[in-house]
């Protein structure tokens, strides 16, 4: 491995940086290094979107563009990619891009501080979808906060941008132009990146190399999307040990499927991971859409979420309920471990030094003759979008001839780790699939958990709702129910017939 610099594309030029600490955030580099102050800091924790930029990455023959939070992404993780900021979008003559013009025309900015971030989220949407509906627009804006407008003009601007004339630069065509792709190809790395500047940064290309590297240096930080590790630097001002970045490892960025399971590699981003999961379990789409925000899902990885092991992480309950298995790698050795056995206590995991999660395997459960599988996960938080769960319940129930023959129930936010609800499961198994059984299972929750009270919810609330969610599970899957069981995510009032 040779020492060299980070290379990325900005405004059509390749920039090489070899003196910058690799943990410099992209936002710091843009604002302080380049004086490109259009990109703003509103929180430095990935929760407000003022810092949103778009990253481009050559994937096969197409460049994929994603909105990401520049405040928590280390500059080194942009190696080999293109960075598009709010300053990039105007034509050389100063003409505004359609998403910018639409925001002007719709009165979409007031104080304007959030605006560059909205511009970039809308730009990512513009490149991806020429006719997005309201629901998609709202999803794409889930990571951007505005405190001045009521968002209405911004939502309107998304539609208006699509009907304005194509821009000179950064049209959909320009975004995929041959010269652009060639430029991308010119910086695509075929070997590992090794940055000597403190704290040191290695981005291996091969899985064996990664395994060796980490085995030799188990004190290093394994970095994937960095949506948590970024905060160690921006919020906790921690000095990181050397970093091993897994995002470039060939083979970790893949999703593979067999008849009965999906295997999701450690470098797969949440966005793609949940797409694969939801293809089999459409009931999980709401959970997927409520997982943080689009820019976070564009950086963070599913395995990173599992490895982080936060008691309130949203992926764990459903993966516990589905009976997922981790593929763990240490040096030359690979083993598998049920996710069930992975969380030992608060921030304690069943990992050996130098061992890491290489992939997660998720069983694919099918209905079959006489067997119905109910799969669901419910997240409860103060806000629909981009919020941390007060609690999150997940349920996989097997019903045969009207009886529950198997049930796996897990919750986040109820204990020091994401955990199965064994008493509740026991109360359900062998019982008829009925409201009474589910209510009884809900009562058993009180034996499973002793949750804490904190700023997200009180212990009483958590217990009551964890139980009630089992009732919801039943009602939602009760074909005979004649009444709504959920508030629509996109709101509509009752219609009144005009007189």
């Amino acid at each position: 491995m040779n020492c060299e610099g980070i290379r990325f594309i900005l405004d059509g030029k390749v920039i090489t940086l070899d003196k910058l600490p690799p943990t410099t955030t992209l936002l710091q580099y843009l604002r302080e290094g380049l004086g490109r102050t259009g990109t703003k800091e509103g929180c430095a924790e990935g929760d407000c979107g003022a810092c949103t930029v778009v990253e481009g990455e050559l994937c096969g023959s197409r460049i994929v563009y994603r909105a990401v939070n520049s405040c928590i992404r280390f500059i080194a993780s942009f190696d080999g990619k293109e960075i598009v900021t709010v300053e990039s979008l105007q034509s050389p003559a100063g003409k505004l891009h359609p998403v910018q013009q639409a925001l002007v025309d719709c009165h979409g900015s007031q104080c304007g501080f959030c605006t560059p971030g909205f511009v970039m989220s809308l730009f990512a949407l513009y490149l991806e979808d020429a006719a997005p509906g309201r629901a998609k627009v709202v999803d794409y804006l889930s990571g951007n906060l505005c405190r001045c407008t009521g968002y209405r003009p911004i939502i309107d601007a998304a539609a208006v941008a699509m009907i304005l004339p194509e821009p000179e630069v950064w049209s959909r065509h320009d975004a995929q132009s041959e010269s652009r792709r060639a430029l991308h190809a010119s910086i695509t790395r075929t070997h590992s990146l090794n940055i000597a500047v403190a704290p040191g940064y290695v981005a291996p290309r091969a899985l064996d190399e990664l395994a060796g590297c980490y085995e030799n240096n188990p004190g290093a930080v394994l970095l994937a999307g960095g949506t948590d590790i970024g905060l160690w630097v921006t919020k906790q001002l921690r000095d990181l040990p050397s970093i091993i970045y897994i995002g470039n490892v060939v083979g970790l960025a893949t999703i593979s499927e067999t008849m009965d399971r999906i295997e999701i590699g450690a470098a797969v981003r949440l966005h793609e991971a949940y797409q694969a999961i939801c293809a089999h379990y459409p009931a999980l789409e709401e959970l997927a859409n409520r997982f943080a925000s689009i820019p976070i899902r564009n950086s963070a990885t599913l395995c990173g979420n599992l490895a982080n092991g936060s008691p309130i992480g949203d992926s764990m309950p459903i993966l516990l309920a589905l009976g997922a298995t981790l593929v763990l790698r240490r040096g030359g050795q690979t083993r598998t471990l049920p996710l069930d056995e992975f969380y030992l206590g608060y921030q304690k995991k069943a990992l050996e030094p130098g061992e890491f999660i290489a992939a997660v395997r998720i069983p694919i459960l099918h209905d079959s003759a006489g067997v119905k599988i109910v799969v669901a996960s419910y997240k409860i938080a103060k806000r629909f979008d981009q919020d941390i769960s007060a609690l999150c319940g997940a349920y996989v129930v097997r019903i045969e001839a009207g009886l529950v023959t198997a049930a796996r129930i897990a919750y986040g936010g109820m204990a020091a780790t994401p955990q199965r609800a064994r008493h509740s499961e026991t109360a359900l198994i062998g019982r008829p699939w009925s409201e009474d059984s589910l209510v009884a299972a809900g009562k058993a929750i009180a034996q499973d958990y002793r949750p804490i009270s904190d700023m997200r919810a009180s212990a009483n609330y958590r217990l009551q709702v964890a139980g009630n969610l089992l009732k919801r599970l039943y009602l939602e899957h009760d074909a005979a129910a004649t009444f709504p069981t959920r508030i629509p995510a996109v709101s509509t009032a009752l219609r009144v017939e005009s007189p």
């Binding site: 929760d47 709010v86 300053e87 501080f113 560059p116 209405r152 103060k382 700023m455 009752l494």
Partner: protein
């Protein structure tokens, strides 16, 4: 369906839906905020050391490790302040750096200047502070029990409430509880101090109140006002949070700059911003109300108590305004309002859009709702029987007559256009068949008094230059925080001079140009500064008219200014050519303008008078759904009719209404401030403090401006202030939730729903009504 409409009024520039003057810069990332201003190469970066306990004596502050930390250039403590170590807006009870005593977690103890932001922030963590912990009072009830107040209790009364209460047909007692709210401007607090020659200091500051920053910095540095120049081109949001709060950061930056002789930037991160700066006051209210069978209030006793935090800050006027909005839209013949301003060992609460008004209104709206539930009436019917009338029943508790009441008219209009009645019936039927999802609808009114309660702030100045190419530069005392003030002022000036809007530039607020400014607050920005700028433009226009009459032997009525042209009898010429000619004739093309609001007066001792020049009105209908299993809720539809008089700029006004409404909805639903038992704020970043997102704007929303009702007072083009009033339209959301919760239990049951109506709060309220039994 998502419509926002307004009819423009027939002038050239004023009344048009003109885009924000900086919109093209905002979208391009080319609008400069304080953090974007290029600075001298040797600029230092500052950070503040904060108290980690809520209440205690400072035994020792050991900064030796801080001083020797990498990159540290200077350190500043209370004892190093050459002037006054204080930055409070009204009283001197807010030290810049705590001296001997700390009174909240996050209180500023010392400041560090270093080579980089990171170096400064890392260094402050190395301080070793030795405290002697004292018992802390952390909430309103504890403060009331301890009789702990920052300023004296106030009483506002009219009639004979106790006797009237005893005689009332029905009587009800209850409690109202509401949380505070963080301003959460997207741009956090920031100040840059740049030393100038001979002891002067230039301050770039994100502030709604440059003059106060000037005064506080001058006092801290031991200098005079004329040594300190404060500038602000724009803020990334203010909402009241940058009225008194910037002074701390400006003073700390200026002190370090004075000490080092180098420019110092102090930008606090989001967590420090939320921990160190004041918020909307949380309130509790106990009430005792007497009413008749129609729900008409016969007597009312209200005890208001707010959490002011450790110092007075703006709590006096905030609580006064709360008292003066307990009436909201309703005539209270016999009333007593007691207001306690509680001292707690938490951050000192401050201004936030509405300035106590929302809290006062929330109290009476719940009282009305409680009466309606008790009597099993439509709350709207109870609202209507209590509305101020036009010629009688129209005197407020503070003795100002309500002379411009348009609420009955507006309520009729909105009730019809929103289909309130039919939808309410439809919802009742829906709820009977929907055990899990319940809907609710409510219509609530807003009447909000416009003017600063403190009469002296109701004045403004402007400075206007016409250059010889016909372009205009105008400066005024207001600040731009996104509300579109600069746009409106430019419109007013363009209109007055009959020139295109493009010929007018509004320059950064600069107290070197316009001095002794009032805070841009109390919704007064365009009322005051629009008039002042108009006066300046008018003066110049008058000079030009006089010159023309003189030169061309015309009468004044033969001279007019429109669309960049000047008509001189039967000739016409370009404005630019004409001003060049006037310049040649040695006519002054620069003028100041000044305005002070007429008619207002207010006696602080009795809390009576005419504190408000006029009232702004609004009505909203909200429909929500709640989930009885989880307490989750969602706003499904909103219909708003709002009164801005004759709009200066309907696009901007609609923007203020929508934004204010959603901000209010956040206050009352998802935004929850939580402190732990040590007095530490646990919700100090957007990860834990949840303001509304795009999804929270309902797909069905109709926002309309009231038409045909110009301001009855002689305001700028007969417009009305719009900054604050729309926030309170969101009370309809809380009341729609109340209606939904009510449908979970028996009729006639009073609800216990505290604000914010988080899922937990809603579920608690549902549990409580269900305990009382359910209708069979």
């Amino acid at each position: 369906m998502n419509t926002s409409t307004a009819k423009p009024c027939p002038s050239e520039v004023v009344g048009k839906a003109i885009r924000h003057e900086s919109a093209h810069l905002h979208v391009a990332g080319r609008a400069f905020y304080t953090d974007d201003i290029p600075l001298p190469a040797n600029t230092l970066h500052a950070a503040l050391g904060m108290s980690t306990i809520a209440h205690g004596r400072l035994r020792a502050i050991d900064l030796s490790a801080v001083r020797t930390a990498p990159g540290v250039v200077a350190v500043m403590l209370a004892g190093d302040v050459p002037g006054h170590n204080t930055c409070g807006p009204i009283r001197d009870d807010d030290p810049i750096f705590a001296d001997h005593l700390v009174q909240y977690v996050g209180q500023s103890l010392f400041a560090v200047a270093a080579q980089s932001v990171e170096a400064a922030r890392r260094a402050v963590r190395l301080a070793r502070i030795d405290y002697e912990t004292l018992p802390a009072i952390l909430d309103i009830r504890a403060a009331l029990a301890a009789q702990s107040f920052v300023i004296p209790t106030q009483r506002l009364a009219r009639g004979d409430p106790h006797a009237a209460l005893a005689a009332a047909a029905r009587r009800l007692r209850g409690t109202v509880e509401m949380g505070g709210q963080d301003q959460f401007y997207l741009e956090g607090h920031i100040s840059v101090a740049i030393p100038q020659e001979d002891g002067a200091m230039l301050i770039h500051c994100s502030t709604q109140h440059p003059t106060e920053v000037q005064h506080k910095v001058a006092h801290a540095l031991g200098r005079s006002a004329h040594d300190i120049i404060v500038q602000c081109r724009r803020m990334g949001g203010g909402f009241g949070g940058k009225e008194s709060q910037p002074a701390l950061f400006a003073c700390a930056a200026a002190l370090l700059a004075q000490k080092t002789g180098r420019a110092v930037k102090l930008r606090v991160d989001r967590d420090a911003d939320m921990i160190m700066t004041g918020k909307r006051h949380d309130f509790i209210a106990d009430y005792d109300v007497g009413f008749d069978a129609s729900g008409r209030i016969q007597a009312l006793l209200v005890m208001l108590a707010s959490r002011c935090g450790y110092s007075a800050d703006l709590s006096g006027p905030v609580n006064d305004r709360a008292m003066m909005h307990v009436d909201n839209a309703y005539f209270l013949e016999h009333v007593e309002i007691i207001s306690h301003r509680c001292k707690t060992h938490t951050v000192s609460n401050t201004a936030f859009r509405g300035f106590g008004g929302p809290q006062g209104m929330l109290v009476i709206e719940q009282i009305i709702d409680d009466i309606a539930r008790t009597l099993d009436l439509d709350p709207l019917a109870v609202r209507r029987v209590n509305y101020y009338a036009i010629t009688e029943r129209n005197i407020t508790p503070y003795l100002q007559p309500v002379e411009d009441n348009v609420l009955a008219l507006m309520t009729d209009q909105l009730e019809a256009s929103s289909d309130y009645r039919a939808r309410r019936e439809r919802i009742t039927v829906f709820n009977q068949h929907s055990p899990v999802i319940k809907r609710g609808i409510a219509l609530t009114p807003v009447k909000f008094g416009i003017s600063f309660n403190a009469t002296l702030y109701n004045q403004a100045g402007a400075l206007l230059h016409v250059y010889t190419d016909g372009t205009v530069l105008v400066n005024h005392g207001g600040t731009e925080m996104g509300q579109g003030l600069f746009t409106k002022v430019a419109q007013v000036v363009a209109e007055e001079l009959g020139i295109p809007l493009a010929s007018v530039r509004v320059s950064a607020t600069d107290i070197g140009k316009v001095p002794n400014t009032s805070a841009t607050a109390a919704s007064s920005g365009s009322d005051l500064n629009g008039k002042a700028a108009q006066a300046a433009a008018h003066t110049i226009r008058q000079r030009l008219v006089d010159y023309a009459c003189d030169k061309y032997a015309l009468t004044a009525d033969k001279v007019s200014f429109t669309q960049g042209r000047v008509t001189l009898g039967d000739k016409a010429t370009d404005f630019a050519a004409f001003v060049l000619e006037a310049y040649g004739a040695r006519i002054s093309l620069s003028s100041t303008g000044y305005y002070s609001t007429p008619k207002i007066h207010y006696d602080r001792a009795t809390l009576t008078g005419r504190p408000f020049y006029y009232f702004a009105y609004g009505v909203a209908v909200a429909e929500v759904a709640i989930d009885v299993l989880t307490g989750e809720s969602r706003l499904l539809r909103v219909d708003i009719l709002h009164d801005v008089g004759r709009s200066l700029n309907p696009a901007i006004d609609i923007g203020q209404i929508e934004g204010g409404f959603l901000q209010g909805a956040g206050w009352l639903t998802s935004e929850e401030l939580c402190w732990n038992e040590h007095g530490e704020l646990k919700t100090h970043a957007p990860s834990t403090y949840k303001i509304p997102t795009a999804r929270d704007w309902p797909a069905q929303a109709t926002v309309r401006l009231l038409e045909g009702e110009p301001n009855r007072e002689d305001t700028i083009h007969r417009s009305k202030a719009v900054g604050e009033p729309p926030l309170m339209l969101a009370i309809a959301v809380l009341h729609a939730i109340r209606a939904a919760v009510a449908s979970c239990g028996k009729r006639g049951v009073v609800l216990r729903l505290t604000a914010p109506a988080t899922p937990e709060s809603i579920l608690r309220a549902i549990n409580a009504v269900q305990k009382e039994g359910v209708d069979g």
